[in-house]
């Protein structure tokens, strides 16, 4: 959670410094994503995230170096510097290539879950994440419906941060909980406090375990809040009040979970400070290392269009 926040901050800093043209933040999603990622089994499960899933990806084994290679659009980036920041791809760990197109990845996740069943592989599940806005898309519905019909091992994780860029949830749907859509598909749905990683972990663990044992798909909705603008190109003051954001900041999940750990005696102040220092150092090192890497060669524009050498139409 600390690393996610630090990397997020660094993205916005690099943008303000003019070093990268664009950054996307996930502040407010840390607890939900950490809780969900902790319920995944590395090396077995597949993660099909959307573009605000920095913490999910980190928690699934995606390294900070990959995050900065993406931000700086370096040759080593998973897309070879082609995609926006936060659009990772890492087949080695089972992290599907992230699409910018809202909900376009949901059917891909279903296809991957189908492949598990096709091969007779039990004990594996797919986590497909979206925001709440994506659940307005027909493709989200088509994906959930197909998964439900075939009882596929997949969990649709909905990070409800209440805004799709500027459009509030009330303009997206006539219900308070996305999870209430689940009965329409004949599958379980649960809404939980996305500011508490343990609650989210428990909900995701139950849903993923059910999927891994042949119990079919679920919808898990984590109630979060997007503290930052949609991206560095957005200004949230045009559609929501700074007071609203300040009020929600009072429940910021990162310091809240720090307090939980301190009060439970799991960590003390010195250890927490040391952890924060480690995270900052790791972030600084990863930033510098990535910045020094080369950009993709211009000729790479023509690479990986098809297998083998592409003969472009002249």
């Amino acid at each position: 959670m600390l690393l996610q926040r630090q990397l997020d901050n660094r993205g916005f800093q690099l943008n303000r410094q003019g070093k990268i043209p664009f950054a996307l933040g996930s502040e407010g999603h840390e607890a939900a994503q950490t809780g969900a990622a902790t319920a995944l089994i590395r090396g077995k499960d597949i993660l099909v995230p959307y573009y605000r899933d920095l913490g999910l990806c980190l928690g699934f084994g995606f390294p900070p170096s990959g995050v900065f290679n993406s931000m700086f659009a370096r040759a080593q980036d998973g897309s070879g510097g082609r995609q926006f920041p936060n659009h990772y791809s890492d087949k080695a760990i089972g992290l599907f290539s992230v699409s910018s197109i809202i909900a376009a990845h949901c059917t891909h996740a279903v296809g991957a879950a189908f492949a598990f069943v096709y091969r007779g592989q039990t004990g594996r599940a797919v986590l497909c994440s979206t925001g709440e806005g994506a659940t307005s898309e027909g493709e989200w519905h088509e994906a959930v419906n197909f998964a439900a019909v075939r009882k596929l091992p997949i969990v649709f994780f909905v990070e409800n941060n209440q805004y799709a860029i500027s459009t509030p949830q009330a303009a997206q749907m006539a219900i308070a909980d996305v999870a209430d859509k689940a009965p329409g598909y004949g599958i379980p749905g649960i809404a939980c406090d996305g500011f508490d990683p343990i609650t989210v972990y428990a909900a995701m663990k139950e849903a993923l375990d059910r999927a891994r044992c042949g119990g079919g798909p679920s919808i898990v909705e984590a109630k979060v809040y997007r503290f930052l603008s949609h991206s560095t190109d957005d200004d949230d003051r045009t559609y929501r009040s700074p007071q609203e954001v300040r009020d929600r900041r009072k429940c910021d999940p990162v310091p809240r979970f720090e307090r939980v750990l301190l009060q439970a005696g799991i960590i003390n102040d010195e250890e927490l400070d040391a952890l924060k220092a480690d995270v900052l150092r790791e972030t600084n090192e990863a930033t510098d290392a990535s910045e020094s890497l080369p950009m993709p060669e211009a000729g790479e524009l023509y690479g990986n269009v098809y297998e083998g050498a592409h003969e472009p139409w002249r």
Partner: protein, 333 residues
Amino acid sequence: MAVTARTTVMNNVEAVRHTLHQALTNDPNTLILGEDVGARGNVFLITKGFLEEFGAARVIDTPLAEACIVGVAVGMAMEGLRPIAEIQFADFIYPAFNQIVGEAAKTRYRSNGDYTCPLVIRTPYGGGVRGALSHSVSIEALFYHVPGLKIAAPSFPADIKGLLTAAIEDPDPVLFLEHKKTYRSVKGEVPDGRYVVPLGKADVKREGEQLSVVSYGLYVHQALDAAARLAEEGISAEVIDLRSIRPMDRTTILQSVRKTHKLLIIHEDHKFGGIGAEIAAMVAEEALFELDAPIRRLCGPDVPAMGYAQTLENAFMISTERMADAMREMVRF
């Protein structure tokens, strides 16, 4: 291209069926998904009996949702399976446009080769079958603009087998177009064993000296009929069947134009922005001074669709007589 000695006469439906059957028999990673492909065996009965033979995990009746059919197939392909998706009629493909153009065609590029999308999307297209507005359309021009995608549109049984096999084995997404009117009207010899026609290779179906006719789909057959008729008048027309629209075989087209010095392009899809526009532009760029006459395109009219009424359908479709007239005029130019 490996041609085996033994052949069987088939129509185009049988050629598709035979090729799919071979693919499912030979590669346990291949599977078919689409609307009514299982219990019904596809609306043209192409996959009849497949469900019983290969099982419900490999012959999948999907919900009625085209974006889902293609999107799920993309995910299967990214995860190592070899899906053959079917869109019941090409006219129904528009909901899947996002998945084909935005996702399948960009999977390899977007992940720098980490993920690939070996996917075939088969769909019947084309008119002349009283299919009205929504069972007659040609869709190739909407998709041939898209790098990352391959498109095949063969219309002879052997070519269907060779190209569908190539498509299924191809490591990239292929849109495979089957002209409905040729399904049962066209018959031919098909090699029994493994037979592959590489994607991106046109075929000179009739050699000639005075005019090059480039076409594909149903109209190749009509163009061949017209050329045979004109031969009796002493006119020698070469007929090229594109077979693949992307990659496009510029070499065969240019070789022919350099020989005959005249080019007529015939297709059922609309003229504006159609396949013929790209061929004409390419020939103008590469071989303008080889031409002894202006390039001519005989294509679908600039209207939204063909009508259900026979008169309206006829007015949309190009008759063999019109093709012969155009060929005659060009030779006489």
